[in-house]
């Protein structure tokens, strides 16, 4: 879907981005995480063809963005940090304008406006001027304008910025629904935002890509180990020490720590160089224990992020 090769962006002498290279496959949501000034917006603006990179190549849906930006623009929807709204237009009129400018035919645009308004819950404000809308509604109009032409790629730059908690939850739900139909790129410096909506994360710092992958992959790469949370109900006549000893003796297990004990239930934090949840489950069950919890990653994205930036600084 997206391929970036050695992309750099300079503003005058200042390097804002790069060199950045990566590939993103179609489907799902990808998050771009970084502090303010990390280069997220610059990267998204290049992907949205609002900016051209100073060097390197950008390909979207197999089309070179510098050589044929017009074709790329048909395939993308972009919500910048501030939704690009004309204050003198009503919501319906604005969406119709955007639909037409994005290439929808005059016959189909009215139906599509109605669909998008229903999808983003904008129908009640169809006749409202955009300047009279609340911040939350403006963000929704921003998303509506980005999806009106059914783009393959949806680029959202800090979509939850400035929203209250209720609006954040609503917008997050909307993004989760959009994931099913579009490839989504979301930028944010709010870690939980990325953590809850994205399948893959790119971490940017000072214009450079310092980590990429799923939260668990980043965690494993960073520490060289997978941390597995294991919840087990012990077999009769088994003590907690026996179970810990048993788990410690299994192949690929480097460390076992007790997190919590509640009567015959134990929660253990297990470290391994591989994702060995399958073999761990089989071993425990065959020894008569019940496995009630088996999941990766006690490393929260927040601590990973801080650790990544710390490594970079060091």
């Amino acid at each position: 879907m997206i391929q970036l090769t050695e992309v750099r962006k300079y503003f005058g002498e200042k390097r804002a981005l790069g060199p950045v290279s990566f590939e993103i496959s179609p489907g799902g949501a990808v998050g771009f995480l970084g502090l303010n000034g990390a280069g997220k917006t610059t990267l998204l603006r290049i992907l949205a063809t609002d900016l051209r990179s100073s060097t390197g190549e950008v390909e979207i849906a197999g089309i070179n963005a510098a050589a044929n930006p017009h074709e790329v623009r048909k395939r993308i929807g972009y919500l910048p940090e501030t939704p690009p709204l004309y204050r003198d237009m009503a919501v319906g009129e604005y969406l119709k304008f955007v639909g037409q400018i994005k290439g929808l035919s005059p016959d189909s645009v009215d139906n599509r406006v109605r669909e998008v308004e229903e999808y983003t819950q904008l129908t009640p404000v169809h006749h409202e001027f955009t300047q009279n809308l609340s911040h939350g509604y403006r963000q929704r109009v921003g998303i509506a304008q980005a999806i009106i032409h059914k783009p393959e790629l949806l680029i959202l730059d800090e979509p939850t910025k400035g929203l209250d908690p209720v609006q954040v939850v609503e917008l997050r739900g909307l993004i989760m629904r959009l994931k099913k139909e579009h490839t989504i790129l979301v930028s944010s410096h709010v870690l939980t935002e990325i953590s809850q909506t994205c399948d893959r994360v790119f971490v940017l710092n000072q214009g450079e890509l310092i980590a990429s992958g799923s939260e668990d992959e980043i965690s494993a790469n960073l520490s060289g180990t997978y941390r597995i949370m294991l919840g087990a109900r012990m077999a009769p006549d088994t003590r907690a020490d026996d179970l810990i000893h048993f788990v410690r003796g299994l192949p690929d297990i480097t460390s076992v720590e007790m997190v919590q004990q509640d009567d015959r239930s134990l929660t253990l934090s297990v470290e391994s160089p591989t994702d060995c949840r399958g073999s761990l489950n089989r071993s425990l069950v065959s020894s008569g224990h019940d496995v009630v919890r088996l999941e990766l990653g006690s490393n929260e994205l927040e601590s990973l992020f801080v650790e990544l930036l710390g490594q970079k600084v060091n």
């Binding site: 503003f11 609002d50 017009h70 501030t82 037409q100 400018i101």
Partner: protein, 241 residues
């Protein structure tokens, strides 16, 4: 061409909806009426051809000012409001953006200009001027307005500040106006170059008299094309910033 049509429609609707458009139209019509009464009709006895020439002269000044006022907001305002990014990331060409906005402004200016038609028609009723003379004069006004609009569009493409755009647009227009008086005080061949480039004077005087020279039509079209092309190139170049 779809982008051009959609942008043109949006701009026209924006003019009809905004109070700025109506205030501008009302101001131009009021000043034009006053100037017609005080300058063109005046206390002195004049033949009707002279009255018409003075009317087109004074109206040309108002057309220039109105064109500048209207044009300097066109692209700078999009940048100020953050809507330029919508146009930049939509499948529309830069020339469609420039031309769509220019044509909408031209239609609006033409509308205001032709609203003054009752004044020359009064001369037709009470004097001896032909309809062709009037049409030629209005053609000159529209061409002059188009040239100044194009200068304004170029100025507005350079910056996000309407104030800076106004200064740049007014500066270019003033310099091109001053070419005419300058041409009368310098020696040839410089005088010929300056008079050929002057925005008013030599090129507008024909229209004022009801004389249609293809040279003058070509000049205004060339100025319009040149500055619209520059504005398009500026928009393209801005993406590299």
């Amino acid at each position: 061409m779809n982008g051009l049509r959609v942008i043109f429609q949006r701009e026209i609707n924006a003019y009809l909806r905004s109070s700025v458009g109506y205030i501008l139209a009302a101001t131009v019509l009021m000043l034009d009426g006053l100037l017609f009464y005080t300058q063109a009709l005046g206390p002195e006895a004049r033949v009707s051809g002279q009255v018409l020439a003075i009317f087109f002269y004074t109206t040309s000044g108002l057309t220039v000012i109105a064109s500048l006022v209207l044009s300097v907001r066109l692209i700078a305002e999009e940048r100020q409001m953050g809507t330029q990014v919508l146009l930049n990331t939509s499948p529309v060409r830069d020339w469609e953006i420039v031309l769509g906005k220019f044509l909408a402004a031209l239609v609006f200016i033409t509308g205001i200009t032709f609203s003054t038609l009752y004044m020359p028609l009064m001369i037709v009723v009470n004097g001896k001027v032909s309809i062709a003379q009037i049409l030629v004069g209005y053609s000159g006004l529209v061409l002059l307005g188009a040239a100044v609009l194009a200068i304004g569009v170029f100025a507005t493409s350079l910056t996000r500040s309407q104030l800076v755009a106004t200064a740049v647009g007014a500066g270019i227009t003033a310099v091109m106006f001053l070419f005419w008086p300058l041409s009368t005080v310098v020696d040839p061949p410089m005088s010929r170059v300056l008079s050929a480039l002057a925005l008013h004077g030599r090129h507008f005087s024909g229209f004022q008299q009801g004389l249609l020279h293809t040279r003058d039509v070509f000049y205004y079209l060339a100025v319009t094309y040149f500055f619209l092309l520059l504005a398009t190139k500026v928009l393209e170049a801005k993406r590299w910033e």
